[in-house]
Amino acid sequence: MLSYILRRILIAIPTLILVSIFVFMLQKLLPGDPVLVMAGEERDPEVLAYLREQYRLNDPLIVQYFHWVGNVLQGDFGMSLRTRQPVATLIADKLPVTIQLAVMAMIFAFLIGIPAGILSAVRKGTLTDYIANFIALSGLSIPNFWLGIMLILLVSVNLGWLPASGYEPLWRDPVRSIETMIMPAFVLGTALAATLMRHTRSAMLGVLQSDYVRTARAKGLRGRVVVMKHAFRNAVLPIVTLSALLFGELLAGAVLTEQIFTIPGFGKLIVDAVFNRDYAVVQGVVLCTAVGFILMNLIADVLYVLLNPRMRQSL
């Protein structure tokens, strides 16, 4: 058991090293000279040369890479070329925003996806099943950014019910914080809800057909009890695992949603940094997202083992 987890962690190390290389190369791929962007309207050659020197842009790539990794290992992610704020501060500022968005999206996804999944599994082949399936597929098929724009148009511009953009930290003004996050969280949550619904449905179908549930039914237990107490409990395992995986994906999926709703989180930070050629920010934030993703995968794997008694024994 413990050795399995250890092995899992050890495997994550080369992955992390590769991620760091990819992240580093990613920004080197970007065309355009960051120094020109930094210089802006004024382009004094002397200043350009100085900046290039300052940000070590003249060093060989490999030197730049080791310099960067060395600093990152000491917790120094460098400084934003655009605002001179430390990248670590930016990450600390933005992470809670995106996590709040992801958690709220997750709540939406659970509230919609799981009941719909159970319902459509229990009523398999009925109209309810088809409708639930259709809604789930719609959630998967609708482009996030379009849904966002349409909601802004309808709810904010036409009806004036919710703010069209912005962010307020939860601790500063909880009501407003939730108000500003409802639409983006919903948009982000739809695709997830669909995925969850489909997985819940198939997990439930599998369990409902098992001998175990058939026995429970044969014993004369009432339908609802069977579904909730026996079937769902067994179907919950793959759902939990999946949720951990989805959470990792959410962090990445927030990119466009944050852009549309002007939410100052990770996604917006990355996109703006890419367009501004803010190398240090691109590197730091993408690295963080990737590490988060790997962590969530690790957690999913470990959870799977912990929650599955059979797996536990076999290890």
């Binding site: 990819f22 597929l137 379009w146 990445a252 997202t289």
Partner: protein
């Protein structure tokens, strides 16, 4: 999306085909896709105005009998742009997935078949690539290659490669210990022959399912990139770039935003329905 791993022996193919035809949802999907493919192919011969023809006198007109879907910010017919835009979307979906399959499947085959350090290297690289946010990868690649539809397709295709490596590898691992593969090895067939003749056919069905579903994702990805200005270039239309422009005229001309979004939704829905149908048809288990 995870795909149920199944090896389908050839004799069950006809059964799969029967099941697929009986699946009404898949049929709807196929009809949707066929519809968009048809209008995309027929775009040059349809009696519609030039999608790039501007008319200063007809800016942002609401839908009417003359312009069924209205006109855009420089007086072009939106219906015509939608039809031509279907080409960009479908092409982007199919080509980028083709790129991903052509690169991903061989790597997956090699990793799964040979195992050992080759497998470890490919598997770790795949893990690492999967950990990078998909859209960010695509944005960076598209920015690197320069904004154009072709480059957007390459960017999306490359970003989707790890999905196919991982899927293929898993399939190969499931198949390679089967008796018939062992048998082929026993009679001394070469690696390449075993991979292409004995393993690949069993890998194809789930790849097919995944590819269909990835086309759906790729179409959305192309729209997203075009929405960010990194896809199709003007004056050629694409649904994503139409949305990008429409965003500025939401309150004055909401129809500009409605049509492209609805079209993306329908075509993606079509591919998803088809993918689901294929999956069910190829699944030997009966629910």
């Amino acid at each position: 999306m995870s795909v149920t791993a199944v090896a389908v022996p050839a004799r069950s193919r006809s059964r799969a085909w029967r099941k697929l035809r009986a699946n009404r949802a898949a049929l709807v999907g196929a009809v949707l896709v066929a519809f968009f493919v048809a209008i995309a192919v027929m775009a040059p011969i349809l009696p519609i105005p030039d999608p790039a023809a501007t008319d200063w006198g007809k800016i942002r007109l609401a839908p009417s009998t003359q312009h069924w879907l209205g006109t855009d910010e420089i007086g072009r017919d939106i219906l015509s742009r939608m039809i031509w835009g279907a080409r960009a979307s479908l092409l982007a979906g199919v080509v980028s997935v083709a790129i991903a399959v052509l690169i991903g499947v061989p790597f997956g085959l090699i990793a799964g078949y040979f195992g050992g350090w080759v497998d470890s290297v490919i598997a770790r690289a795949t893990d690492a690539l999967l950990a990078m946010p998909f859209l960010i990868m695509a944005i960076a690649l598209a920015a690197f290659l320069g904004p154009s539809l072709t480059n957007a397709m390459i960017a999306i295709g490359l970003s989707a490669v790890p999905i196919f490596i991982r899927l293929t590898r898993g399939q190969v691992l499931a198949v390679k210990t089967e008796d018939y593969v062992e048998g082929a090895r026993a009679i001394g067939l070469g690696h390449l022959a075993i991979m292409t003749a004995y393993i690949l056919p069993n890998v194809i069905p789930p790849i097919l399912v995944q590819a269909t579903l990835t086309v759906a994702t790729a179409i959305i990805a192309e729209a997203s990139l075009s929405f960010l200005g990194l896809g199709q270039q003007p004056p050629s239309p694409s649904w994503g770039s139409m949305l990008n422009t429409a965003k500025n005229f939401l309150s004055q001309a909401p129809w500009m935003a409605v049509w492209p979004g609805a079209a993306i939704f329908l075509v993606v829905m079509g591919f998803n329905l088809m993918g689901d149908g294929l999956r069910d048809a190829l699944d030997p288990r009966e629910h």
